[in-house]
């Protein structure tokens, strides 16, 4: 009898431990985002234009070698890349404007960025502009588009030889 009471008490304690545990392992639900907005993700991976031009150096002159070898041409090229200038405008309002530096120790890698925006659902006018060459004033790439966003829709803007919306 005494033993039974003991085991019953233990069963109760196990229940007191595990029942709340089971509940908090999935409830209460978490409200992350409202239903009447959509998400616009802008993800750009793009190498800026190289700053400056290659200079040629002609090597191996006048050592009595055959002409073909004599005319080996070596090019010395700068490696530094332009940073990207990127701007996002929705319905005439600038949501994002930033300079994205090239990666790498010598700024010779690609530029890479990611940003996400919540935008109310419905029709919008979207503009994306980018400059990837410091030698050029103004924007080298542009996108102007009317879009219609659905509730909880995820729209991705990325770049591959031009802006693309998905």
């Amino acid at each position: 009898m005494d033993k039974a009471v003991h085991y019953l008490a233990q069963a109760l304690m196990y229940a007191l431990f595990f029942v709340p545990l089971v509940y908090i392992s999935h409830l209460p639900t978490h409200h992350h985002m409202d239903d009447d907005v959509a998400v616009l993700k802008v993800a750009i991976r793009h190498p800026g234009k190289i700053i400056g031009e290659c200079t040629s150096v002609i090597a191996g002159e006048g050592h009595g070698m055959r002409p073909a070898a004599m005319q080996r041409v070596t090019e010395i090229c700068p490696r530094e890349r332009s940073p990207l200038q990127l701007e996002l405008i929705i319905d005439g309002e600038t949501l994002y404007h930033a300079t994205i530096p090239a990666t790498g120790l010598h700024s010779d890698g690609i530029s890479s960025m990611y940003q996400q925006f919540t935008v109310p659902t419905g029709p919008h006018h979207l503009q994306l502009r980018m400059n990837d060459d410091v030698a050029v004033d103004g924007y080298t790439w542009q996108l102007d588009q009317d879009i219609e966003l659905q509730p909880a829709q995820v729209m991705v803007a990325n770049f591959k030889e031009g802006f693309r919306l998905q």
Partner: protein, 521 residues
């Protein structure tokens, strides 16, 4: 705050001890329970891995197979895997709070405390990785929010978020990395767990069998009642709006989106740093007293102190000057000044014919000769109307100071296992008192881990030095009632006196009968 937490634990301890008995009380073995849950998670994880499809397109479907088609085995394994992780999270958190509230984190314990902190990160990372692999909407939320969190760090060259843009650009590459991490991180956790207990002798890594069995049964019941399931499959083309969330392991996530990734990093890293330096922050807890000192003259090299030291502070070496003999050495960086070694040393016997009691090993803060003079002086002041009781207690358990009276003497020391069994023999044989009461922390919850266990074993003659057979057992009581049992101990001392008085009267009566018989005959 610490006092409040301690009171909470006192209440929980008593409640659990009633239902489970002290030997099975999970509150006394939270570290061991954490180990136990880890093994459950590891074993079930291996089984789940057989059926898990390690590709982003197949993961969710394979989890559905596990939970739906093979619910009777893989499904139950899955529930065990999830709920044991959650239970481990809770046990580890309670373990941390408890060590804090009971002041078991500073001094030489700093090593266990500090090495515990990375375990928290590894445990959370393991669990979050597990939820990620299911690739349901909760996993989608984890992916997006983790990316947001890590992309805040300036070390990220390529944004992590670009791995989870939409369904069209999704690839398996990152997912394979996750699978790898979900095996690698728990393995590092296990390694960390072993480092964590490295400086503790005979660390308790297995819970009591009855508790383990009960836990498995309870988990089976829970797994049948509420099997662990996935939520709807992830779809990166639709943003996450409302999801079920594991609040045990994912509780920092809502902070990342509502409060910001930088702030969340600051909070969690700040909290970890704070916990790391906590053992060295000034506080009102007692300061560590000088560590144990070996007296080679009185050490015969028996090694009993080594066997009893709970913190691996004692080693043996060749004797300083007795050739072919050994002696003990104390590492001051490991010694916690509990004095348990002094209670273990055969030289700590008050029967020795020496002018001043010395011994092989003792703590300067409470030397064995001090224990002897206190015992003799306090007992000599008692009246003889009632049976006299010597109450030995410790500074962390039942408060014995208040129990002193005309017939009761009490001495409090760092750990009651400091009292050599020979002292009890001495007190009773020399008729300094009629009874000896040993008290301390709750059974199974010694402040110095093993004190009450060693004491019980010395009394039951399972451990050296033993309480000799000639000591009448009805004149000695051991009551491990803890701080919360102080009142109870007071009552039991009174009851002990009444019991001894009865015995005395019975003896007197027996004597009278004998005298009468003798005169008749």
């Amino acid at each position: 705050m610490k006092v409040l937490i301690r009171r909470g634990f006192n209440a929980l301890d008593s409640l659990f001890s009633k239902a489970f008995t002290p030997a099975w009380n999970p509150m006394y073995q939270l570290g061991a329970m954490s180990f136990f849950y880890f093994w459950i998670v590891a074993a079930t994880g291996v089984y789940l891995f057989i059926f898990f499809e390690t590709s982003i397109s197949g993961a969710h479907a394979s989890m559905e197979y596990i939970s739906v088609e093979q619910w009777y085995l893989a499904g139950i394994m899955r529930s065990f895997h999830r709920y044991a992780s959650a239970a481990m999270g809770i046990c580890v958190t309670l373990h941390l709070l408890r060590e804090y509230a009971r002041d078991r984190y500073s001094g030489v314990r700093w090593f266990s405390w500090v090495s515990g902190i990375p375990l928290l990160w590894l445990l959370f990372a393991s669990a979050i990785g597990g939820y990620w692999l299911v690739w349901d909407v909760q996993a989608q939320y984890i992916a997006i929010t983790t990316a947001q969190w890590f992309d805040w760090l300036p070390i990220m060259v390529d944004p992590m978020a670009s791995n989870f843009l939409n369904e069209a650009t999704l690839s398996d590459r990152f997912f394979s990395l996750l699978v790898f991490l979900h095996i690698g991180i728990p393995l590092s956790l296990l390694l960390g767990m072993f480092i964590h207990i490295k400086r503790i002798s005979g660390a308790r890594t297995n819970p009591a069998k009855g508790l383990a069995a009960g836990t498995l049964l309870a988990m089976l019941a829970v797994s049948l009642w509420q099997p662990a399931l996935s939520q709807a499959p992830a779809n990166l083309d639709v943003a996450v709006t409302e999801i079920g969330l594991d609040w045990i392991f994912l509780n920092p996530y809502p902070l990342i989106s509502s409060w910001g990734p930088g702030q969340t990093w600051a909070l969690l890293v700040g909290l970890s740093c704070f916990l790391t330096i906590l053992p060295w922050l000034p506080s009102r807890r007692e300061q560590q007293t000088p560590v144990a000192v070996v007296d080679p003259e009185n050490c015969n090299g028996c090694g009993w102190c080594l066997a009893d030291c709970p913190y691996e502070a004692v080693t043996m070496k060749e004797h300083d000057y007795k050739k072919g003999h050994q002696q003990s050495v104390v590492d001051p960086n490991l010694c916690i000044s509990c004095g348990i070694c002094a209670g273990a040393c055969p030289s700590s016997s008050p029967f020795r014919h020496v002018d001043e009691l010395t011994t092989g090993i003792s703590i300067p803060g409470f030397h064995i000769k001090e224990l002897l003079s206190l015992t003799e002086n306090k007992l000599s002041e008692l009246g003889t109307d009632e049976p006299r009781i010597m109450v030995y207690g410790c500074d962390h358990g039942s408060v014995v100071d208040s129990m002193a009276s005309n017939s009761v003497a009490s001495i409090s020391m760092p750990c009651t296992a400091l009292v050599p069994p020979a002292f009890i023999d001495y007190v009773l044989r020399k008729e300094l008192a009629e009874g000896v009461m040993i008290s301390g922390c709750c059974e199974g919850d010694c402040h110095y881990r093993l004190g009450n266990e060693w004491m019980d074993q010395r009394f039951s003659k399972e451990r050296m030095p033993i309480l000799r057979t000639r000591v009448p057992r009805d004149k000695v009581r051991i009551r491990w009632l803890g701080e919360q049992g102080t009142k109870q101990l007071g009552l039991e001392v009174k009851e002990f006196q009444a019991h001894l008085l009865e015995n005395v009267q019975a003896d007197v009566q027996l004597d009278l009968v004998k005298i009468a018989e003798a005169s008749n005959g």
